[in-house]
Symmetry: D2
Subunit: 382 residues, 4 copies
Amino acid sequence: MSIPRIRLGMIGGGQDAFIGAVHRMASRLDDRYAFVAGALSSTPERSIASGLALGLDPARSYPDYPAMLEGEAARSDGIEAVAIVTPNHVHVPAAKACLAAGMHVICDKPLAASLAEARELEAVAAGSDRIVAVTYNYTGYPMVRQARAMVAAGEIGKVRVVQVEYAQGWLATKLEDSGQKQAAWRTDPARSGAGGALGDIGTHAFNLAEFVSGGEVESVACDLQATVPGRRLDDNAQMLLRFKGGARGGLWASQIAVGHENGLRLRIYGETGSLEWLQEEPNALRVSRLGDTTRIVTRAGGGVGTEAARVTRIPSGHPEGYLEAFATIYTEVARAIDARRAGMPIPAEVRFPTIMDGVRGMAFIEAAVRSSTSGGRWTAVA
Amino acid sequence: MSIPRIRLGMIGGGQDAFIGAVHRMASRLDDRYAFVAGALSSTPERSIASGLALGLDPARSYPDYPAMLEGEAARSDGIEAVAIVTPNHVHVPAAKACLAAGMHVICDKPLAASLAEARELEAVAAGSDRIVAVTYNYTGYPMVRQARAMVAAGEIGKVRVVQVEYAQGWLATKLEDSGQKQAAWRTDPARSGAGGALGDIGTHAFNLAEFVSGGEVESVACDLQATVPGRRLDDNAQMLLRFKGGARGGLWASQIAVGHENGLRLRIYGETGSLEWLQEEPNALRVSRLGDTTRIVTRAGGGVGTEAARVTRIPSGHPEGYLEAFATIYTEVARAIDARRAGMPIPAEVRFPTIMDGVRGMAFIEAAVRSSTSGGRWTAVA
Amino acid sequence: MSIPRIRLGMIGGGQDAFIGAVHRMASRLDDRYAFVAGALSSTPERSIASGLALGLDPARSYPDYPAMLEGEAARSDGIEAVAIVTPNHVHVPAAKACLAAGMHVICDKPLAASLAEARELEAVAAGSDRIVAVTYNYTGYPMVRQARAMVAAGEIGKVRVVQVEYAQGWLATKLEDSGQKQAAWRTDPARSGAGGALGDIGTHAFNLAEFVSGGEVESVACDLQATVPGRRLDDNAQMLLRFKGGARGGLWASQIAVGHENGLRLRIYGETGSLEWLQEEPNALRVSRLGDTTRIVTRAGGGVGTEAARVTRIPSGHPEGYLEAFATIYTEVARAIDARRAGMPIPAEVRFPTIMDGVRGMAFIEAAVRSSTSGGRWTAVA
Amino acid sequence: MSIPRIRLGMIGGGQDAFIGAVHRMASRLDDRYAFVAGALSSTPERSIASGLALGLDPARSYPDYPAMLEGEAARSDGIEAVAIVTPNHVHVPAAKACLAAGMHVICDKPLAASLAEARELEAVAAGSDRIVAVTYNYTGYPMVRQARAMVAAGEIGKVRVVQVEYAQGWLATKLEDSGQKQAAWRTDPARSGAGGALGDIGTHAFNLAEFVSGGEVESVACDLQATVPGRRLDDNAQMLLRFKGGARGGLWASQIAVGHENGLRLRIYGETGSLEWLQEEPNALRVSRLGDTTRIVTRAGGGVGTEAARVTRIPSGHPEGYLEAFATIYTEVARAIDARRAGMPIPAEVRFPTIMDGVRGMAFIEAAVRSSTSGGRWTAVA
C-alpha cells in the first residue's frame, strides 16, 4: 500500500523567487507531498497571482500567511506542513504561526534574523510535537552522507583539520543597485540579519563542516569584509576554526570570488586518512588513506555504504544533482512526519537538519561578527 | 493561468524495473503530468500489485495494457498519453495499440526489436496526429542543447571528426546468469533484438552524435564482439563512421569496460573549433577554438545560449543531472501535447526525439550487425 | 666511483629543430652523456653554425655526418654514440653509417621511410653488437612503466579492449604552406614516408598500446584521411584493432583535432580491471578493479611498484614531465652501453625501444595504409 | 657564439639529500653551469665520498666548505658560484663565506634560521656585487610567470582576495623518530629555526602569493599547531592575511594533510577576474573573468604571453615539471651572472628570488609565530 502524500503549503516563493521553485520541485520528486496551498508573496495581489500561475485551487491561493493558516485549519483536507521560503526576517514569525496552527515546518536557512529570535522559536518548538526542519540542503547529498558515515566509523581516524569553503562570484559587482531581487534582500541587514555572505552561504559551510566531521566548532577568529564599496553586509568572510577536542580548521565564504558559481568544498583530514567533497561534482568523494592511493568513491558505485545508498535514486554514473539532494531533505522530513502521523518514533536512520542546526547557524553568525568586530579575537560559538 | 496536467499511463516499469521509476520521476519534476493509470508488469498479479504500491487508484491499476487502454478510453478523465518502458520486443505492439486508442506515446529506446517492425510503427504513426516520442534522454541535457546550437551556428566550422563513446562496466562478468533482471533481458536476443551493447547504449551514442553534429552517418565499418564467454549478444562494439559530406568518426560502445559507470562522451572537431561533453559531468561543455584557449562553458553560466537556457531550472553551480535531463524530454513532449490539445502547431523551439530517431536507431543497429558479420565492410545506415 | 659519461654526437637537430633540443636536454638531465660533436643540419654552413651556437668545439662541428663519423673515428676521444634526429628519410642511411663506424645509435621515430628500408637496417644491426634505440619516448614515463608492470602481473586480468588515441590540433590549417619547417617535412611523402599523422604520432600510439598491454596487434581496419584540402599525407587516422588472443581495440591519431595539444591517451580494459593514462597528466595512472572504487596511483606515491620507482627522480607531487621521460630513454640506453663497454649483458630491468620496435612501427604504417586503400579491409600487421 | 658555462660548487647535497640532486639536475638542464666542486656533507668523509660518487675531480671534492672556498679561490678555473643546499642553520654562515670569497650564491630557502641572521646577510650582500639568489623555485614555473604578468597588467582588476595553500601529508606520523633524515632536521628547531611546516613550505606559499599578486602582506593572524604528539615544531599552520591596500587572504600550510603530496595551490580574485594555479598540474592556469566563461590557459598554448614564453622549453601539451621550473631559476641566475661578467646591468626581464625575498620569508615566519603565540593577534610582517 502506498502512503498518502503530505499536504503542503508554502509561505513565500512566488514569481521571481529562486528558492521557492526549488522547494516545490524537491517536494515533488519522490512523490511524498502534494502542494495544495500558498501565500506566496509579500503583497496580496502577487501572492494570489502566483498561486494561480502555479495551478493552485483559487480558494487555496491566499493573500498572506495568516489567511492561509486560518483557511487551511478550517478544512478537513487542510495542509499538514508548511514550507517557509521568505527572506530571513520573516522565518521566525511565520514558523511560530505555523506551529501554533499545528503544522509541521520546513524552513529555509538561516533560521532567523538573530540568535535571540532563533532561541525564541526553539522554545516554542520544544513545546510542540511538530517537526521543524531547516533546509541545510547540502546534507542531503549521498556523498555527504557517505563522508559523514566514514568519519563516524573512524575510517580517517581522529579528525585533525577541517577546511571548508563556499565561494561564489555573483556579488562581485554592486548587483543590489540593479534591482535584482535576490541581491537586494541578501545585502539588506533589515531582511537578512547580521550576516551577508556569512549568513547566506557561510552558515551552509559551517553546517556541512560540523555535520560531516561530527565535531563542534568551539571558537572562531574571523575577518569579515564588505569588499564592494557601499555594500552594507559582508561579502567575504575568512575565519580560523577551533573544534572541541583540538581539531583546527579554516572557513572561507565569499560572494565576490569571480569565477566561482557555487563552490562549496569540504576537506577533512584525520590521523589516518582524508576526505574531499565538492558540491559542483557531487557524485564523487575523494578518499585518501595514509600510505595508500587516493580513491574516488562514487555515488552508487563500489565501496559506497548504506547511508549513501538509502538516499540514492539511480545507478552510479547517472548524475544526481542539487534538486535530488534537496528532495532528500524533503523525503527525510516526510518519513518523520509519517512517523508522527502513526504515533511512532522517527526511525534512527532518518536525518535532516532540525531547529538545533538552525539555532547553531545563528550562533555561528553572531560569533563571527563579534570576532571580526573585535579584531579577530577567538570567540566562542555558543 | 496554469495548464492542466497531462494524464499519463504507463506500460511496464513495475517493481525491480530501473527505467520505470526514472520515467515517473521525470514526469513529475516539472509538474506537467499526472500519473494515473498503469499496466506495470508482464504478469497480471505483479502488474496490479505494482500499481497499488505506487498509489494508483485500484480501479486504474490494470492487469495488462489492452485492459488499460480499454478501461481508460471509457473514462472521461482517461489517460492522454502512455509511457512504454518494457523490454524492447513489446515496444511496437504496445505503441500501435496506444495510437489506435488515440493516445500519445512516449516510448523507451531502442524503438523496436527490428528495423522492419520500427518501420511498421512509423507507417501507423504517419496516419495519426498523436505524438510519438522516443526517450533518447541524453538530448535533454542543457549542455547537449548548447553544443548542438553551437555547431548549428557554425561556431566550430564545418564538422570534420566525431568521436563518441559509451562505456560501462556492469556486464564485465556474466551477470545474466545471476538472475539479475536488467542483465537478463538485455542479453537475450528474443527480448532485446539484434543488438546487445549496440542496442542498449550504442544507439544512444549514435543518436547523440547525429543530434549534436547535425550530420548524418552514411556508413559504418563495425567490429562487434560478445567478449564474455557464452554471452548471446555483443557486449563490446567498435566502429568507424563516415558522415555525409565527408566527416569521419569513431564510435565505441562497451558494457565490459571495467571502471566505467555510464561513460557517454562526445567530441566533435570542426574546421575552427571543437566541443567535448561528458555525461558524467554534464553541467560543463569544453569548447576550443583555433589559436585560442580552451573554455569551460557551464550550464546557466556566462556564455550559454538560449537553447540551453530554456531547458535549465536552477542557477549555474547547482548541478542538474540525469533526472533533470530526462524530465526535459517529458516537458518538451508536454509542450507538444499542449499544442495538439489547442490545435496549434508545435512551437519551433521544442525538441524531443521522435519516431524518426527511433527508426534511425534501428537502421544503425542493423547496419552495424551486417558490417561486423561481413568482416567490417563499410555498410550504409539506411 | 662514477662512470665516465658517454661521448655523444648528433645528426640533425640544428637551429629551428624542436626535437634536437629535446634530445640534448634529455641526454644532459641524468649526466650520463657528454654532447661533443655534431652534424646538425642539412647544409654545411648551417650545420657548422649550429654546432658553434651550441658550444661545440669548432673542430667537432662538422658540415655533414660522413665527415663527423670519419673525424670522430680518428680521435682517441671520439664519440661512442650518435643521436639521429633528422627527417625520417635520413634515418636509415645515417644509422647504417653510424653502425659501420662502430657507434651506438639513438634514432628518432618512425625508424625509416619504408618497412623495406627498416628491415635492411635490422639486418645490418643484427650483424653488429652496437645498440640501436628508437625514441618511442613515451615508454619512458614512470606511470607507463607502472601500467605495463601491472598488466604483466595480471592485475587487470586478461586484456580485452585497448583504446588508444593521439590527438593534436596544430595541423588543422594548411600550416605547411606557411613555411613552418616542422609542418613542411611532416606532410611531405618524400621526407616522411607513407604516413602523415599515422607515422608522426600514430606510431607512438601503436607502440604505447603494445608496450603497455603486452599484446601484439594482429590486424587493423583503417580509414585514413587528408582532411585539409591539398594536404599530401593523412592528417586523421581512425582504425580498429585486433590483437592476437582476441582482444579488440581502437586507435585514433589526428593532427587536425582543434583543442588538443599533445593528447596521447591509453586505456586498457581487462577481465578484472582497467587502466587509464594520459600523457598530458603523466604523473597519475587511473586504476579500476571490478566491484571496487577507482584509484589514482601517482608517480612515487603509495602503491607504486619497482618498475616505476627505478625511473623516477623526485618525490611524488613534484611533477616530472616530457623531458624527464625522454631522459629516461637516454639513461636506459646509457645503462645498456655501459654494459657493452664492460662486456656484460644488459641488465634485465633495463627497457628501451629497440630496432624491433622501429621495424614494427613501419609494419604498422604500411598495414594501415593498405587497409585504408582497400576500403577498410582487415590487414595483417607484419 | 655560445657563452661559457658558469663553474658551480655546492655546499651540502650529498648522499640521501633530496634537494642537492634537484639543484644539480636543475643546473644541468639548460647547459649553463658546470658542476665542478663540492663540499657535500657535514662530515669530511661523507663529503669526499659524495663528490667522488658524483664524478667530481677528486682534487675538487672537499671535506668542508671553507676548504672548498680556499681551494677554488686558488685556481684559475675555480668556481664562480655556489649552491647552498644544507639544513637552514648553515645557510647564512656559508653564504657569508661565499660572498667573502667573491662567489655568487644560490641558496635554498628559508634563507636563515632567524630574521636577525637574515638581515645580517642582507647587510653583507649589500656591500657586494655578487648575486644572491634564494630558490623559491615555484616562481620558475611558466604559468606562475603568466599569472604574475596578468595580474600586473590589470587583467583581473584590483586584487581583492588571495587564497594560498600548501598541503602535504608526509609528516602525518612521527616520521622523525624513524631516523628519516629529511624529517629529522625539518622538525628540529636547532636546524630549521622557528618554523616547521611554516618555514619549510609556508614560506613558499607566502612568496608565491606575493610574487603573483604583486601585493605585500601587511599583517597575519595565525594559529600554529604541532599536531603530531611530541613534535617540536608546527606541522599545521593556518592564517588570515591582510595586504596593503585592503586585499584579504588565507594561507594554509600543512604537512599532516594525508592524501596531499605537494599541494601548492594559489587563487587570486580581483575586481574583474580570477586566477587559479596548482603546482601538481603546473602547465595550466585557470582564468575567469566577470560574466565570461572560465578559460584554461596552457603553457605554450594560445593566449600565453611573453613572460611565460621566455621560460618555456617545449611545445604545449608536452608537460614541463618541477625540475624545469627549478632549472629556470638557475638559468635566470645565469643570465644575471653573465651580465655581471660582462659589466652590464641585469636585463629587466630576468626574474629570480633574491635576498630580499629571503629576508621577507624570515619576517613572515617570525610574524606568524608571534601572532600564534599571542592568541591570533593581527601581527605586522616586517
